[in-house]
Symmetry: C2
Subunit: 444 residues, 2 copies
């Protein structure tokens, strides 16, 4: 038999310990942000019946991008490409019993069949946070504030990103009343505006003309007017008092009161998914090196009701870990982590390995994370392994050490050495942990 | 369109916050155990090329139980049914660069197409811990000790479970030399012994006779002899000095030195998967209510080498979360958790919601997890929601409270109330957290 390939499946990543530490760091900051707002973690199945995606996620996502297949019982299923339909199903299943409002979050993996590219993987990890059971601007503002905390928690500053907001009902109104488009034209124009930043100007214009058809001559200047609108105040007079505009103004004022100052109204912000019904928003990286949308969310009041229960007002956000990692790299916000392990116990002579094991056990019983070398290798090789793993300390155990109970402990970051007993070792190695509980930062 | 079903896909579970808290508790204890031994977390892709399972996992798992399908590029892939092939592939891919020994763990979900039954789900979560690069008894003993810590970490005692050990090479030897079976007969007998506890005695005997064929008359009494062996010392004299027996004796002695006293040699322990090459072990629940294998593991030195690199000695274990949950339930080891949220801020009058929001922000900046009620509902409804969510405290915010900076805080567990400012609130609510950092236990 020929050898198996060591490559991971296209568009998926192997997370070696150093990659996983970084991912865990991102998850930890997100988790603290979501829990800070009283959101509770839930988990949903990896696969769902395909129809829950075809119902509302939009044709592109459900039809072309899902990993869909028939199971052995001939049911059409899909590996989840997003969380929103699953969590909506879960809320619908307990529509009566669940405490409302419900604040829920999850950190989970998803799959989409896409051409892999920078920041876009076939398997990806997301935080999803959703607030069920509250209508209106304060709920929308809370989800945006939570999202903001998910970015600021890494030490970001407001100049590094912008928060764009819009409203799906306002978009509909602009399409029909301001641009004079019918339903199909409005849908096409929405999709065109959604990809505006990715298209050359000429191509954008060509497609816009084709959407307007016979009305292109009147439509194009209106479209140019629309795109130039950069504040709520600049909206055409007839629209300024629409409920959707009033609500958006409230959202923006509420964010201002919360001390968030990088929010802008963006009339061209569409957000692709079909299920949004009100406020939509997007966090956008302002760095010239990474000038792109980081993540987004919005209000989708109709989804829970699709499962045959009384509808629930809902607003939510989904953040991808890889996109976040790129944001943190571009803005130099990533710490360098040491191993999670506190101390590597090196065995000077194989005959004392039982004693070294007893020391390891004692340290572990005090909550110290200890890797014990049981290879019987030469000492320099043992130290090399500890260094390669970026473990902050090595404790040496030989016969003298065991009889005296005093061990030489080397700090691998600054190469200093100190003799100490097990009790002191517990304090010394735990003190080095970053944030009391987390990984130490390994600065070499 | 008819309504979508709220049911999760057959054999999968929805984890509502109370379920997820319990699962997270299991993960936390496991994580601490694995990290205590210096194991570092990794992550692997959700899907893999199908052939990495057909190569070594055994026909049942790869052929009948995987969720396998063709992707849009016509590659045969499978949702991972286990972790061992993936982590072996990852180690093979970095055979040269990875520090050896490598101690790796993961907590991940898997799927198998099985008839759902108690403790067996189509989607399930496992801890996998593997030690790469060390041969021999000490490495085997370390993995068993780590597994033991994964159970004892919940407050279990040794009488609640037994650790059965055996050795794949000894099994082979017993099959060929003691029972006189050829390769095919040995394979069939191994599978038969693997399901011995699940078969009626007569059926077991019938199948054994069919395996022995013409030699049944001689074979059956030998099989009875073999099954009756309950200690290493009781092995037939010719076998006592086999390397596999010597090694098993070392494993058992090493565990004894580590203070583990519930280890038994079990000559009938087979472990189903084809890839094991040496020590195999299984943790078995001793409760009459749950008399079953909890999880198992063993040595599989051949798997990394299948990927075309120099082989690596490997021993590992995989623990399922649902089986563990049942063990904890049967032995009454599960705590009851409160919400992760520390305090519910109830708003006495809608007009002060901005002030209540400012208080929530202030508390959050001190690391307190705060849910703010923004519904404008009557106070009794707000309190009911907090109770339903099992949040330990409610803080009431009205106009007087905002002007004085002194809030009434109700402890929902014992219904006591106290007036305090925000600074004291931080201390009071954080003090209640279980284990400093974790969920409070909600005893009502």
């Amino acid at each position: 038999m020929s050898n198996l390939s060591t490559q991971s499946y296209k568009g998926t990543r192997d997370y070696y310990p150093e990659d996983k530490r970084l991912q865990n760091y991102i998850f930890k900051v997100w988790r603290e942000a979501a829990e800070g707002f009283g959101y509770e973690e839930y988990g949903a199945p990896l696969i769902e019946p395909l129809e829950i995606y075809t119902a509302k996620s939009g044709q592109e996502l459900a039809g072309e991008q899902t990993y869909a297949f028939q199971d052995r019982g001939e049911r059409m299923v899909a590996i989840r490409p997003e969380m929103t339909p699953s969590v909506s199903r879960m809320v619908a299943a307990r529509r009566q019993e669940m405490p409302m409002p419900s604040r829920l979050y999850s950190i989970a993996n998803f799959m989409r069949y896409e051409r892999p590219q920078r920041g876009r993987e076939r398997e990806f990890w997301q935080l999803n946070a959703d607030l069920f059971g509250v209508e209106g601007a304060m709920a929308d503002a809370e989800i945006i504030e939570l999202s903001y905390a998910c970015v600021m928690g890494f030490g970001a500053t407001e100049d590094m990103f912008k928060i764009r907001v819009n409203n799906r009902q306002l978009i509909n109104q602009l399409m029909s009343e301001f641009l004079g488009l019918d339903f199909i034209g409005a849908t096409m124009m929405t999709k065109l505006l959604d990809k505006k930043d990715k298209l050359p100007v000429e191509e954008f214009k060509r497609q816009a003309i084709s959407i307007f058809g016979a009305d292109a001559e009147k439509g194009l200047p209106k479209l140019a007017d629309l795109i130039s609108i950069s504040t709520l105040e600049a909206l055409p007079p007839g629209l300024a008092n629409l409920p959707s505009v009033v609500e958006m103004r409230q959202v923006m004022q509420s964010l201002k009161k919360k001390g968030i100052n990088n929010v802008v109204f963006d009339v061209t912000l569409m957000r692709g998914l079909d299920y949004y019904t009100g406020t939509v928003f997007e966090f956008f990286d302002t760095s010239p090196e990474n000038n792109r949308a980081l993540f987004g969310g919005g209000r989708y009041d109709g989804l829970v009701g699709l499962f045959g229960v009384e509808p629930v007002a809902t607003v939510g956000v989904g953040l991808g870990a890889t996109t976040m990692q790129q944001f943190l790299e571009v803005h130099k916000l990533l710490p360098r982590f040491a191993s999670h392990t506190d101390v590597y116990v090196a065995v000077v002579d194989e005959s004392v390995v039982d004693g070294a094991d007893a020391l390891a056990r004692k340290l572990r019983s005090e909550g110290v994370r200890v890797e014990l070398d049981i290879t019987g290798r030469k000492l320099d090789k043992q130290i090399k392994t500890a260094l390669k793993k970026q473990i902050p300390f090595v404790a040496f155990v030989g016969e003298d050490e065991l009889s005296s109970g005093v061990y030489t402990v080397r700090n691998l970051v600054d190469s200093s050495e100190e003799k100490m007993d097990a009790v002191r070792m517990v304090t010394v190695v735990r003190d080095r942990r970053y944030d009391g509980d987390d990984d130490a930062v390994f600065e070499v």
